[in-house]
């Protein structure tokens, strides 16, 4: 049994390596063909990434980029889950608030950025707003839906066994909704990353957005792709951390459903 598990874990690791090899390999080949003179090879990009790291440019850039990103994702997470919880618990509030988030989710954000800049200037505030507009709707709507769909019988059970309103929310509704809330968080965080880079490209070029814009303007394509790759890697690491957090907080939830 234990041996089998290790083999399985090994296999999944091998598969991950294989898929990375496949993607980076085809990137290298596409760069060597070349598909376009603006498309560097994988090795060139890696070299550029190494230079960025050695020179410390990357860390300086991320210190700047992470500010609106972390702030925006944090606000979206806390506020989004809070509002989503309320949306799921109260029909009236759902009716009042949900359309706003549906509009936020579907609005063409890039076109709205000039409005934000006019209202909040070119500083951090506007960038945080962009991250929030990207990240929050999916968090709110997922949380609301999950809370609304808590099985009635376990809520009734909490009521019958004299649970207070907060007991029922904290001990029954939230854990029951947590898998879908976390699915929403993951989507929201990914959207937040897109928002952070978008804001740096569209508002003022700072941080990683600056590296991308500047290296494109001087035709240093390997550096540009290195910056893009770094943000993708960071997003993957972040999402993995989120998954780990879910497992430690609500590990038992992966135990399937009683009514299955």
């Amino acid at each position: 049994m234990a041996g089998k598990v290790i083999v399985m874990r090994h296999r999944s690791f091998l598969l991950k390596c294989l898929s990375a090899l496949l993607v980076f390999g085809s990137w290298e080949i596409a760069g060597r063909v070349p598909v376009s003179f603006a498309f560097p090879t994988f090795l060139e990009s890696m070299l550029a990434l190494w230079v960025l790291i050695i020179e410390g440019t990357l860390f300086v850039a991320y210190a700047e980029t992470l500010k609106p990103l972390v702030l925006g994702v944090f606000i979206s997470g806390v506020l989004g889950i809070g509002i989503g919880l309320w949306v799921g618990l109260s029909k009236k509030f759902d009716w009042l608030v949900s359309p706003i988030f549906v509009v936020m989710q579907t609005a063409p954000l890039a076109a709205l950025i000039p409005l934000l800049v006019m209202a909040y200037g070119i500083g951090l505030t506007s960038k945080v707003f962009v991250v929030c507009i990207m990240a929050m709707p999916v968090i709110v709507l997922n949380t609301g839906g999950a809370v609304r769909n808590t099985p009635i019988s376990i809520k009734e059970m909490g009521h019958a066994f004299l649970g207070s309103r907060s007991d029922i929310v904290l001990k029954i509704i939230l854990p029951a909704a947590s898998p879908i809330i976390f699915a929403g968080l993951r989507l929201g965080v990914s959207a937040g990353f897109i928002g952070a880079i978008l804001s740096e490209l569209k508002i003022t070029p700072t941080g990683v957005g600056d590296i991308i814009t500047y290296s494109r303007s001087i035709a240093d394509y390997p550096t540009m792709y290195a910056a893009i790759l770094s943000i993708i890697l960071l997003a993957v690491v972040f999402l993995n951390l989120l998954e780990r957090m879910e497992k430690t907080l609500f590990g038992g939830l992966n135990k399937g459903y009683v009514t299955d």
Binding site: I154, E156, M157, F161, L162, P175, K255, Y257, V258
Partner: protein, 258 residues
């Protein structure tokens, strides 16, 4: 016997209860007494409001009018004097058997060590010793309902409300459950309110059977089997009174079955 002492002999009394859903009258002027220490079944065709009545008694649904008395006191919500066993078990899928059984006590603010000690006792009582740290999805339907039963027993309420507790378990398990229930009624000194749609089950386990008829729901008849209650569990199903009552109930219910 005076009217007053008669009253205190009933653990639960339902007085002139009406329940309307919009224009639909679910319960119409329903009155019924549940004698203390006995098992009363609510039996009737589907849609006769038996689960509605049980949930009103539990305080999970408000009555449109009328009164529910528990130990002579009117009640309007759930209370520590009543515990509920759910048809679909209503277990927390993310919690172990131990936490599920102790959950009623957890909601009452009983400290962890104390509530787990109580839960362990009842887990053993319902025959699930060794499964304390299993999760509900690892158990069979019958075992899950034993968890639901242990949870209801562990809060030590005087009245146990059971909403078709055995309808989601297989026939063999169901028979075993029914036999165990008889033992529980005899030993636990609690009052049992039992909703079922099975005539045989109702006659087998009940001290008193209230037949509910639909549209609008009312109590059409109360039957108190007397002759075979003291018999052992095996011979009840062959008792002539048992068979007669089953036949009689079926003949009065068959007109309501489409």
């Amino acid at each position: 016997m005076s009217a007053k002492s008669q009253n205190t002999d009933n653990a639960v009394s339902v007085r002139n209860v009406y329940k309307n859903y919009g224009d639909v009258q679910a319960l119409h002027d329903l009155s019924l007494d549940f004698p203390r220490g006995q098992l009363t079944s609510l039996l009737g065709p589907s849609g006769c409001g038996k689960t509605t009545l049980l949930k009103i008694i539990a305080g999970l649904l408000p009555a449109s009018s009328g009164e529910i008395l528990v130990n002579g006191q009117p009640v309007s919500g759930p209370g520590p004097d009543r515990a509920f066993v759910f048809q679909d078990f209503a277990l927390l899928p993310w919690a172990t058997v131990l936490r599920n059984v102790a959950f009623g006590l957890e909601l009452r603010g009983v400290v962890k060590s104390e509530r787990e000690a109580i839960a362990e006792k009842y887990i053993a009582d319902v025959g699930l010793k060794g499964f304390e740290h299993s999760y509900p999805h690892e158990l069979s339907g019958g075992m899950r309902q034993r968890v639901g039963l242990a949870r209801a027993l562990s809060v030590d309420a005087q009245v146990l409300l059971m909403d078709e507790p055995f309808s989601a378990v297989d026939e063999q398990t169901r028979r075993k459950f029914q036999e165990d229930l008889l033992g529980l009624v005899k030993n636990e000194n609690k009052t049992f309110l039992f909703v079922t749609h099975s005539i045989e089950e109702a006659v087998y386990v009940s001290d008193q059977i209230a037949i509910l008829l639909p549209r609008p729901s009312r109590v059409s008849e109360i039957i108190r089997p007397s002759g075979f209650r003291h018999k052992d569990t095996d011979s009840i199903r062959r008792d002539s009174e048992y068979l007669d009552i089953v036949d009689k109930i079926w003949s009065s219910l068959r007109t309501y079955v489409e």
